[in-house]
Amino acid sequence: MNIPTRKSFGEVLVELGEENPQVLVLDADISKSTYTSLFANRFPKRFFNVGCAEQNEMAMAAGMSTCGKIPFVSTYAVFASMRACEQIRTFVAYPRLNVKIAVSHGGVTPGSDGVTHQATEDLGIMRTIPNMTIIMPADAVSTKKLVRQAATRTGPVYLRFTRDPVPVIYEDTVKLEIGKANIIREGTDATIIAIGDMVTKAIEASNRLTEKGINVTVIDMHTLKPIDEKSIIDSAKKTRALVTVEDHNIINGLGSAVSEVLIENEPVPMRRIGLRDTFAESGTYEELLTKYHLNVQDIILAVKDVIRRKK
């Protein structure tokens, strides 16, 4: 079953609204797309649609959080991370305010909308801002679990969701924790660390590699920051070869974060899968992944390459 993680976010937000009257939600005229309309319908007095005005939206949330509220700011990733970047940096992150920036359309998932709506720099931008926690769940189940944890975590959190439906990979019983990587499968030949929608692709790649006798570890790095350094180092020590996979520019996203950990602790042969410092274009999600070398076949080739290099 495939579900867009933005939809799971919208559903869990209603649950949170029922449980905690302090939860407020803001949207910038895209609530039908981000599924915050579900919250709006259930709690109209705690929902604020500010129109196409993301900077105002973000700063309002900062003000609300000083009054003890837990505001969820909903818009698209590309607008939150860039249009409202300074509001996030100076008025949310700097004063460590309890604002949850929950954004849809991460990576190239708004495929046919094209570059203006694709967020392929946002993780890097957010990662550079102190005090920020950054999360991209891999599927519907982990979205609900991680959004719930984000709501109870004090301080700024950036949550990134997909526009397109992605397969459900987790059972409801899965244990996930912000800041702790989830090891999905263990192998000794190489490690694949993926985030968000790319976790599914990493699993597919690992299945195909198994058929060829190559056993890899697959890690869901749902929390990009603070990154789970121990899991990265431990897995690098075990497999001695590593590939990162992200629906984002290869600059300053997951690949960069993992490289930074490795180079200071446990350098091993590594490859980064991601947009190779380019913008994408309009197309279906799958077409874009293939054209820009983010798809299963690219992961497989990268894994074989790092295994070859480790000697």
Partner: protein
């Protein structure tokens, strides 16, 4: 030094506020002189408004800065923080001696206000155009929680160039935030020159009216005007109020008045002495303890 502007003294509001404002101006000049940098012009222009808010109007408790039912204050033009810091110190949020640490390393008095470092700051500010939206967030919470606190936001006039101000202007009207009062410190000067040359604002009152705001224009140095305008804002129902306060940049120091060069410039020793001479003229009880120049190593 104890608070020279004792608010419990039996004085009428206008006299008291004038004394307080003078006290704030003295502290502003001392502070910026010691720091060797800062923004005197825009700090001096909003001193009367801040004096009225902090010593007469706002429901606040310096012993409990986080009191949930307090009135909120945001100095959106954060570079004028010497005025804010002075008011907080004189009001008893922290010892006046701390004012000497403005802009110094390890100081709670950052160059622009940091709410996590100093008690009494309801928000971090300094990047222009943001304070009104933040105030809206606070005012909405007042409505959601059915609390009767009020939210005051001081805006600079140059700051009105920021598009976000007008996003906020629309939004406050949408949510009928009659618990929100914006006060424009309309001194007519911004860093690079006159607002009418850099980015004309007029007809400013008509703009706010068109955005659905209860709009009041006053002389921002006339205490009675300020008091009356705030009362009118409090009695308005169903819409936010903006008080366009016509002010003089550098008010109170002759050579700074109406001169954009004093937007963000420190004082030389001679300038400092001249400014202090002008501000300490007369027999205001406020001046007790102010006659000595601060001990300082920064001499320009």
């Amino acid at each position: 030094m104890t608070n020279p502007c004792n608010i419990s003294e039996n004085k009428d509001t206008v006299t008291l506020s004038k004394d307080i404002a003078r006290g704030l101006r003295i502290e502003i000049i001392k502070m910026i002189y010691r720091a060797g940098s800062g923004h005197p012009g825009g700090s001096l222009s909003c001193a009367d408004i801040i004096a009225v808010l902090y010593f007469h109007e706002m429901r606040i408790d310096p012993k409990e800065p986080g009191w949930q039912d307090r009135d909120r204050f945001i100095l959106s033009k954060g570079h004028a923080c010497p005025a804010w810091y002075s008011a907080l110190a004189l009001r008893g949020y922290f010892p006046i001696e701390a004012l000497s640490k403005l802009r110094k390393l390890n100081s709670p008095l950052q160059g622009h206000p940091d709410m996590r470092k100093l008690p009494g700051l309801d928000m971090t500010t300094g990047s222009l155009g943001n304070g009104l939206s933040i105030g809206i967030g606070m005012a909405i919470c007042g409505k959601v929680d059915e609390k009767d606190y009020r939210v005051y936001v001081i805006l600079g006039c140059g700051e009105l160039d920021e598009g976000m101000i007008w996003e906020a202007a629309m939004c406050a009207h949408k949510y009928k935030l009659d618990n929100l009062t914006a006060i424009v410190d309309y001194n007519g000067l911004q860093l690079d020159g006159k607002t009418e040359d850099i980015m004309p604002l007029e007809p400013l009152g008509d703009k706010w009216k068109a955005f659905g705001w209860n709009t009041i224009e006053i002389d921002g140095h006339n205490i009675k005007d300020i008091l009356t305008a705030i009362d009118k804002a409090k009695s308005a129902r169903g819409c936010p109020t903006v008080i366009i306060a016509h002010t003089v940049k550098g008010k109170g120091v002759s050579f700074m008045e109406n001169n954009p060069d004093w937007h963000g410039k420190p004082l030389t020793k001679a300038e400092y002495e001249q400014a202090m001479k002008e501000l300490t003229l007369g027999d205001c009880p406020c001046l007790k303890g102010y006659n000595e120049y601060p001990d300082t190593k920064i001499i320009r």
